[in-house]
Symmetry: C2
Subunit: 468 residues, 2 copies
């Protein structure tokens, strides 16, 4: 067996390659998917591959892997690299604790609980709140849905679903809502998609109308998912008004803040979550706006009893010492669970709550710079709104699907497209807090230069986008 | 914002602390859970903590975090550290790709698919097989259950559960089966726990009797979970015989190999999975017997259509280039998904399939050494059986609950207890492939010395274990 010290040396050597590549080629050398297996030796064989040959394959893989930490990656609701969070996650790999018991995780339990406690304070939840670290935003939403279902139909956990449960989310919300309804045994047809206003926010009046209609038809309103940062536009549903309705009809209110829930850290932007303390559960992903490595998703629950009721379990072989408060497996979906907390804790500890606030505020400032640029340049059309770090636009009426794909295939910059109502557009996300004004302006320059050198694009006026 | 290079230097420095601690104090300095927050400064505050102060807190955390990689950690179904797998996982942190699309994961997609393809070959699944990397063994079982449910009741995905579905697992199987039945809307009361024989294996005749009884009573048999390595004894259910019954009654057969499914790599031990190719799905955790960092769980599905039917989704904002075969988000529970494949690939690539086989065989050899030691020493009573790397025993009739807790509280060694039928005992697991015969014999010496110095333990004859 090989030795950890020599592999740590190899790691450091490969990281040097990576960091140098990131500055030389911020967009990685792309391999066409159909040529992947002939371009790289990814094969697993009976015999080992060692020494220089192994190192070379790893270098090739690193060089051709999409670079998500650079200033030309804008494709996803994450990007960049917060080095103090990286430090924590590298340590988590070395420590390799499983988070289910204090016996095996020790102080890492306290690290996770401190994040949860401080987050609950920021949200304004009371002394009975708690939470856990699910594996991502979809799982956070799923855990919320399961709790809602179980609190409305407590027998369900034991005898299965017997009632006609219906759930609510906006038409602009994340697709996990549909999958989760299926997984939970509720069914995709029992989701009511509530219309959004012109800025992509759920219309509370439409929600109430639908709930009344459902009650009249014998359905049981169970769960409403409000979104803090919709996937495409980054819109915030009006939580306070939705909470009035959820209260009135006794429906579980979950706020999906996977994308933008991190505004809890910003005095300036926290108003976008007005009413958040009235929700039953709230989730946010530190691997999005706060830049930790994947994944770092947190769900907070106003009444921890609900978390325990739906997710606890008895397992004598596992829970052998210390109490439930320190044995976190009692409130998680998983059994063995990776330590996703340490990376967020090292970041938070080292920059302080104020430092996290600066990151969030900086992203909104970058968004303003991008929006101003688009607004002030007649070659662009803007499709998104204030109070969001998604900047949606088209350039010179070029079909955005064609343009994004061309930018990607030619390794100019990595950015995606999105749709809202009848429009399709490029979606730039200013989520990399290491970016500066210069980086954002450079993005537009890269795009404009690319188009200037690709005259065929200008003739592609909105053809495929009309089809979407 | 801090700089990645200086944080990598800090990482290397802290790893030196960790590795030195592991050899000096293989059992970490334990902090009583009730004194945790006063012993360590885990607090998150408005202001940053930087420089030496930050480094000191990190060192304190590292020193007191349970050491899972040492030769005195036997508490869990994982342990030790395979350095080539660590290398891959550290790189995954640096690369930070999300595995949903080829556009963002690139060659990492091929790395994941190569593992899945080779694993399917080892299992003997056909050309229509595929798989994915769930977040752990519980989630693997859950995905299998959802597929079983959806294939028996295809309308369920759309309209919710409408049928009286029942599922089967042995009384010695993992507790996730109960949780999963609840999550899936089936209900814990609709699980039938099938009796096991004296060695902890499901009795096929009892399974068939129960299925017939359920059909007679109007229930719909939907899913049988067979276990390859039960949590306590490490027993293997007789898959081939269970497959006969599953075939006959058209019930989905899932094999939960979280603990010991990795015997697919061992020519000597693969017979324990006889009939595995007849299952509908099979999962194994490379973070258990194969020693990768947490988590690395793989589910393989004989007919990939089932995976797609239950887990696919449409999301134009996400799937923009390349085909479904390269956009792995179409077959995962999650949306954003951490790269859990690279660590297993770096290990497999560098030691070869033959190297993985040696790891597995070595663990069985260590188990034989431990079992022989217990058998040949009249102070010990053995409770487990051959064909398993769990060695269950008691020593001098001392209550195992008391003894394990005392060993832990005095930092002698970390080991847990378990129960089977009416007995409770210590469960030693020889899952750390870096251990040698000497390490295993040392474990017994540590235990014996500890007892010799703790005369009060000998009077604790099986008191609390009788209560369990």
């Amino acid at each position: 067996m090989s030795d950890i010290n020599s592999d740590l040396i190899l790691f450091n050597e490969l990281v040097e390659v990576l960091i140098s590549e990131e500055s030389k080629n911020p967009v990685a050398e792309r391999i066409d998917s159909h040529k992947l297996y002939e371009s790289l030796d990814l094969s697993l064989n009976d015999s080992p591959m060692i020494g220089d040959e192994f190192k070379k394959v790893l270098k090739d893989v690193i060089v051709s892997t999409p670079k998500t930490a650079t200033n030309l990656f804008f494709n996803q609701l994450f990007g960049g690299r917060q080095s103090k969070a990286v430090l924590g996650d590298l340590l988590a790999v070395m420590l390799n604790n499983s988070m289910y018991t204090y016996k095996v995780a020790g102080p890492q339990v306290g690290i996770e609980q401190e994040i949860i406690r401080k987050s609950c304070d920021l949200v304004g939840y009371g002394s009975q709140s708690n939470g856990t670290f699910p594996t991502g935003g979809s799982m956070s939403n799923y855990m919320a849905l399961v709790m809602a279902r179980d609190s409305k139909d407590p027998e369900c956990r034991f005898n299965g679903i017997s009632k006609s449960l219906v759930i609510y989310t906006s038409e602009a919300s994340h697709y996990s809502n549909a999958k989760n309804a299926s997984f939970a045994g509720i069914g995709k047809n029992n989701i009511r998609y509530i219309s959004t206003d012109d800025e992509g926010r759920m219309i509370p009046e439409k929600l109430e109308e639908q709930i009344i209609d459902d009650i009249d038809n014998g359905f049981i309103p169970t769960y409403v998912n409000a979104t803090a940062g919709t996937t495409v536009l980054g819109a915030f549903d009006p939580i306070d008004m939705i909470a009035d309705i959820a209260d009135k009809y006794k429906v579980w209110l979950h706020v999906d803040g996977a994308y933008s829930g991190s505004v809890i850290f910003s005095a300036k932007n926290k108003h976008l979550l007005k009413g958040i303390h009235r929700s039953n559960s709230f989730s946010y992903n530190a691997h999005k706006m706060l830049g930790t490595p994947m994944t770092c998703s947190i769900i907070l629950v106003n009444d921890k009893k609900q978390l325990h009721d739906s997710f606890s379990n008895e397992a004598d072989y596992l829970y052998q010492t210390d109490g439930d408060d320190f044995n976190l497996g009692k409130t998680s979906f998983q059994c063995g669970r990776r330590n996703d907390a340490l990376k967020f804790w090292t970041l938070w500890k080292s920059v302080g709550t104020k430092g996290l606030e600066q990151m969030i505020d900086h992203q909104f400032e970058l968004a303003k710079i991008a929006k101003d640029y688009v607004r002030n340049n007649s070659d662009y059309t803007l499709y998104s709104f204030d109070d969001s770090i998604s900047i949606c636009f088209n350039y010179k009426n070029i079909d955005p699907v064609t343009l994004c794909t061309a930018l990607y295939e030619h390794q100019a910059t990595v950015v995606g497209f999105g749709s809202f109502k009848k429009s399709t557009f490029i979606r730039l996300v200013t989520i990399n807090a290491n970016n500066t004004k210069k980086d954002i302006l450079n993005f537009f320059k890269v795009l404009e230069d690319f188009v200037a050198n690709s005259p065929e694009l200008v003739t592609e006026e909105m053809i495929s986008s009309e089809l979407i």
